[in-house]
Symmetry: C2
Subunit: 367 residues, 2 copies
């Protein structure tokens, strides 16, 4: 029988922490009084977990590590359930670490192509990859097309929808996908390189399926999904059903007050099939430190069973001037997502070219 | 143009709170520098939101209320996205209130039958409803059947799966549904009353669809879904696709450190179609106060556009002895979910009968 480990950070008084840890253990295993469980010795043996460690990390703040059995995780919805289901009902507890078992890594096998596959398909062997976003939501398809062409002709690899884009009047999903898929092929063909227009796929599972089908029909290579807004099992289904589509995961609704990005973005998104994962970079609009972001990128690419590495995509407040700094932090194996700073420029085509040139200039020399 | 209001609670220094509120406003509207947005006056007008209020609620803790445009919410995944998408990437922010616009309430129309419909279909006009759970996960179908029969013959209205039950070897979903649907009809027929066996539906959207179809084929009336584990849009799709099924929402993975249950369980689950909503009751295993729980139940049943009231289902540590207290807190319009305390009893059938009798005895007299 296999076990995985989860670590929570909880605000609890020192004299109550051991009892609290035992309570959380029960919630995350049998959710039944132990005296009842004792009546079924086989069940108890097979489902038993334990409090592995309790460690003080601040005043009234403890890290509690549980060792939990794999056996409840028979489908993708049971993964969040078994890791942090009832425990997350507590208002002062946060999931901060997760060490999957070999059994879980056999079940959730990760990206279909991941970092290396994206490089191969984009035919970019060494330098960091480049990405930008079509926004703000609300602009017409005609205005968006001008933006798309500026970016595509400037040499950017991936041009993605803003995550607020869905199927708005004036900028319908179907029209957008048909038009930009065509333009990407046309402009890329002339330039002799790949350009991936990456539409955002949201909605109910049925709406998503229709949009994913439409993307495939139009020869789209890459789609963006915000797994927490659509549901973690929906990410897995999309990744498994459409192996020809590269999946770029967006952190919207990541609920970081309850879930450490290292677990959610670094491990769960990857195990459920995200080929590339966008995260809030240090020094941008969100309060993460350089080291937190480095650690997150390292987790996305570290060995994890047979899961391919995900491509780390730092984003949020990166400008053309900070390209070198970002590459120093993450190395070449990342994709820089630069949005607002290109749009802000008087000449966005020139800004996009400077962005691409700066990435080429500052790419680290391979040994 | 319509707007909704969201309120966040954020840890931020007093001298930084105004700038922070403006940043969050941008994240939740255009996610683009304002100087870029200014170039599209129509887009700016249509998508504009505002910081409505900032209120100190503790040391370095502020409530920030934003007024945001409906227009981005064109599908169910855009609901969490527009309410708390990028904002939730901040590690020290929590969603604590949500006032939907009339437009959103026209789009997300809530339960198909809700509290009153459940009463009508179960033919229970006045007293509180009763529910229990089949657990611990891991017991065989044969042991579970004994448990089911004990509860069904004792007069309990709803007998639901534990939320860890999925499609485990030894207790397959299909066998369980066929067997317990049949038993519920047989035992209910003899007793002249309705008994609802309520299977837990989890998995990927495709797995869920197969299980929901199987439930319908077997004449099941009610299913349990944990919306946060499967995704909020998946709840909506299940509720809309299977209007004949009553949906009982489970709070697993509710991530209360980031999302106040008043918003998630009280409003979002309801708007997306939950007929009944389980929540952690005060005095049980979770640290909620009686007044927090009362408020939550009040929110589930308060007027909300054309949404029918959801049935509040307090759970977690309720015993036969605390029935009166629970009914005093919530009135008759609730369903008491009692699990562990019945299973713990030496004679669980007798305990279940006492539970049912106690609810009948302590039901408040209707004026």
């Amino acid at each position: 029988m296999q076990h995985f480990e989860v670590t929570y950070e909880a605000s609890v008084s020192p004299d109550a922490v051991e009892a609290f840890a035992e309570e959380v253990l029960i919630e995350q295993t049998f959710e039944t009084p132990l005296e009842v469980v004792h009546r079924y010795p086989d069940v108890e043996r097979a489902g038993k977990g334990e409090v592995a460690r309790i460690r003080p990390v601040g005043e009234g703040l403890f890290q509690i590590t549980l060792r939990l059995p794999d056996r409840n995780i028979t489908d993708a919805a049971q993964l969040p359930n078994a890791l942090f289901g009832n425990a997350s009902i507590h208002p002062r507890i946060r999931l901060v670490d997760f060490e999957p078992s070999d059994g879980l890594l056999d079940k959730f096998r990760g990206p279909s192509i991941g970092l290396k596959g994206i490089r191969e398909r984009l035919e970019v062997s060494e330098r960091p990859l480049t990405a930008t976003a079509l926004k703000p939501v609300g602009i017409s398809l005609a205005d968006m097309e001008k933006m798309f062409v500026d970016f595509a002709e400037s040499g950017i690899d991936i041009i993605k929808d803003d995550h607020y884009l869905s199927d708005q009047p004036g900028c319908r999903f179907e029209q957008r996908v048909r038009r930009f898929a065509h333009l990407a092929k046309e402009i890329g063909g002339k330039a002799g390189r790949e350009i991936w227009y990456t539409p955002s796929i949201s909605g109910t599972p049925e709406q998503m399926r229709k949009r994913l089908d439409l993307a495939v029909e139009n020869g789209i290579n890459c789609v963006m999904i915000a797994p927490m807004t659509v549901g973690l099992p929906t990410l897995l289904e999309a990744a498994e059903t459409y192996p020809e589509l590269t999946v770029l995961a967006h952190p919207s609704f990541a609920l970081s007050a309850a879930l450490d990005p290292a677990v959610l973005l670094g491990k769960l998104f990857r195990m459920l099939g995200a080929d590339a994962v966008i995260f809030a970079n240090a020094g941008g609009r969100f309060a993460y430190s350089v080291n937190e972001c480095r650690l997150l990128a390292a987790i996305m690419t570290a060995p994890l069973g047979s899961c391919l590495p995900s491509l780390p995509v730092p984003a949020g407040g990166i400008s053309v001037d900070s390209v070198q700094e970002v590459i120093r932090a993450f190395g070449n194996d990342c994709m820089l997502l630069v949005g607002g700073s290109l749009l802000r420029a008087k000449d966005r085509r020139a800004a996009a070219r400077r962005f691409v040139a700066s990435v080429e200039e500052h790419a680290l020399l391979q040994s």
